[in-house]
Symmetry: C2
Subunit: 149 residues, 2 copies
Amino acid sequence: MTPVQALLQELQDTWHQTIPVSEFMQICPRRYASDCFEASAPLPPNLNLHQTMFAGSIYTLMTLTGWGMMWLKQREAGVEGHIVLADAQIRYLAPVTGTPLARVQWQDGDLSALAEGRRVKLSLTVELFSSGTLCATFTGLYASLPAHT
Amino acid sequence: MTPVQALLQELQDTWHQTIPVSEFMQICPRRYASDCFEASAPLPPNLNLHQTMFAGSIYTLMTLTGWGMMWLKQREAGVEGHIVLADAQIRYLAPVTGTPLARVQWQDGDLSALAEGRRVKLSLTVELFSSGTLCATFTGLYASLPAHT
C-alpha cells in the first residue's frame, strides 16, 4: 500500500466510523493526485424513486469530497483543524444513472493560519460525473477550526 | 387515523420504500396543518464526527421536507407530477445537538399547470430547528413534471 493509498484508507475509515450515513451510502475515496481528489459511491443504496441517484445522496457525496480534500491537505501540511461546512450551493444538471464520480481540484488554499491557532475559510467547487457526463456542480464554504480551541 | 395522518403515513412509506437513505436516516413526516409541513429524524443515525447532526443529513432532511410539501399539495389539488430538485442553497447557522425539526410554509404556489400537462417550478424555503434554535436555512427550486411526459 502506497502512502497515498494508506491516507485514503484512513479517510474512509474516519468517514465510516464517525458518520453512519457515509457508511450506509458506501462512500469511498478513489484517487488523490496532482491536487485532485475523487470520491465515489455505488448507486443501489443511493437511489431515489425515479431509479436514479437521490438528490440528498448527490449532495452528501459532494460535501464529503470537499471535506476530504480539506482533510488531505491538512495532513500534507501537518496541521490540525476541525473541518465544518458553513454554507453550500448545488445545481443538478442531469440525472445520475450510473456510478457517480465526484471530483475537486485544490486551488492554492492556504492552511498556514491553523498552525498559528487561527481559523481558515475556503471555498471549494466539486463536480459530479456519471458516464462522463457532468451531472451536478457544488460549491461549499468550509471552515477549519484550530484543534486547540 | 385522520385523513391527514393517512396521507403522512403514505408519504413516509413512499420515502422509505423508494429512497433507501431516507429509511436509514429514519426521516418521518410529523405534522401538516395550515399550509405548514414539518418532518424530523432521530439524531443517532445522522451524527457526524463532532457528535452533532451531519451536514449531509441536515440537507437531506430539508430537501425531503420541501419535496414532501410539494407532494402533499399535489395530492390536495388532485394533480400528479414527478417532483425533482433543480438547485438548492443551504446555510448552516448552529450545530444541531438535539432532535431536528424541519419546517416549510406553503406560499401561494400554483400547481394548476400540471393538470394542463405543463411543468411547474416553485421555490421553497425550509428552516431547521433544534431545541427551539434555528440551525439551518435551505432554499430549493423544485420542478414538477407532468406524469404523462
